[in-house]
Symmetry: C2
Amino acid sequence: MPNAPTNPVRLKDIAQDLNVSVMTVSKVVRGCADVGAETRSRVLARIKELNYQPNWVARSLAARRTFMIGLIVPDLMHSFFAEIAKGVSATIRPLGYDVVICNSEEDCELEASEVERLMGRQVDGLLLASAQPPSSLGLFERIEARGIPYVLIDRHFAASSAPYVGADDDAIGRLATNHLIERGCRRIAHIAGPPLTPGVGRAKGYRAALRAAGLVVPDSYVIAATDDASGYRAAQQLLALDPRPDAIFGYNDPTAAGAMKAILEAGIRIPDEIKVIGVGNVHYSDLLRVPLSTIDQSSTAIGQQAADMLIRAIGAKRKRPIKTVLIDPILIARESTR
Amino acid sequence: MPNAPTNPVRLKDIAQDLNVSVMTVSKVVRGCADVGAETRSRVLARIKELNYQPNWVARSLAARRTFMIGLIVPDLMHSFFAEIAKGVSATIRPLGYDVVICNSEEDCELEASEVERLMGRQVDGLLLASAQPPSSLGLFERIEARGIPYVLIDRHFAASSAPYVGADDDAIGRLATNHLIERGCRRIAHIAGPPLTPGVGRAKGYRAALRAAGLVVPDSYVIAATDDASGYRAAQQLLALDPRPDAIFGYNDPTAAGAMKAILEAGIRIPDEIKVIGVGNVHYSDLLRVPLSTIDQSSTAIGQQAADMLIRAIGAKRKRPIKTVLIDPILIARESTR
DNA sequence: CTGAAAGCGCTAACAC
DNA sequence: GTGTTAGCGCTTTCAG
């Protein structure tokens, strides 16, 4: 038979039992120094006996501090963001914070409403991989008006003056493209991401690398996509082009994986006839039909760094050093570009 | 220049502006019926003007209800759990709840401490894919002592009297094994999961199906593993056995994918020489070197169902129909068992 | 329909 | 060292 639900123990209960004031108990709980040794140990004993657990809602209201931070990502199913979430949790947990993770589904209205809710819940700070259109600034304004610290992740926005932590997308684009060039490719196509900084930056790096190598490709060599399904379709289009590309640089691993599927289905050999590279080093990259070369962006590190900066910003009283941290990309060459 | 942080608007501010009581405003905010039409619209107008957002910490303290629920999963990186998380969010958000997602890393101490924290934060309910050892009951007891509703997900525990939502693991084991039998396999090996209900149930179904078909396999045909790396090693062992298995049923997709890697590396052909099947239908299953046959367990549905039951339990005053929901597995046959 | 009184469980700031 | 006084911003209960 399940025990009858007990009313949670409160500070007051302990105080009464021991004939001390609530304040004294509160101080012991929080580890304040100014409590007599003997009193402290009596309180501690009773706390253990009763298994007292502080009520964080009350504590938050009184202290005007929740020790909760919000993390908004566009898609938890994408392992890149799941990994960031992991990095964030791992960093802030030991510091006594909890994360509330929200999924915006890449929908900017949903995102905005999540942000409002989190602020309503009085989170101490926000980590935001935003899906806002590049120029929108309403949301950032509202966050700033509230004066709550936040850090942008993965996607940078000119409209926001917040610190930013992400990969160096330009470098990613150059690294991937140069790798293909070194492998002897000349007709390098690109599956471009959505019009946010990662997509734009990688495309820019791609073009820069081509230019530096004196290569010219037709406009039709760049097609937009976001995930494996659209990457699959994009690749089908690319394969139909007349001077057929001899390489495809996918905006992320899912698009590259989708592209590989289309290529293999068309009976074209990877890497002999066409090479493929992605970005993200998702966890299953080397289990694919042809192990996928990719650019690692250290997602866990991104999460850690961002969490770190946020915690620092929360601690700081009134200044905000607008810092940007760019994580260096690492090339991981596998079978698909052999 | 960033706007100076504004002090958040409170009920009191609106009340003063309009010369009404705080109570009246509070009622309007919550949509209570007993407010004059004119008063209501004046309040509403001012609320919009000032962009009032309720302080949920204060509200929670007063109402003794946070409208937050906790979700504890062993590993967010595993897309199965990410998908459950998605299903949960999608279900409860429209009802005004938020989820706090915690990662236990498959570590039962960490899990216990997460649960305590969530209870300290006064969540209204808990969704728990627990990593407790099968017989441990301390944690469940503590949750029940608090009287807070919770629902077990994916892993069932005899020690807990809570409702449970998960896949029908026995059926999964039989479905997968029978599929292999139908495909002509006779020496079917199994990569078994950890000693929790999913692993145990699937292994049980596996044995039951073998028995029903009159097949006998040596004990050495069953090896434990949890992820792609250990699945890889397990498969290497299996391949070294003398009557080499002609099929491997992996506890989950990662183990099966790892197994495929080992098999292909050994120069053995899938599915001609050995067939492979997994469980989970992870999102990249058909992008693998050989598209992986699998059993789909409708993770999103699990999340939805569980969230649904929890919400119901929260609403219910004082009874707990100990319900169990088993989601029917679906076979997805791909290349690896052709 | 409206509001006054009385907290929710805890902490900040300052007295003793 | 310890306790007192005042809230935090909101809701509950119950009178008007």
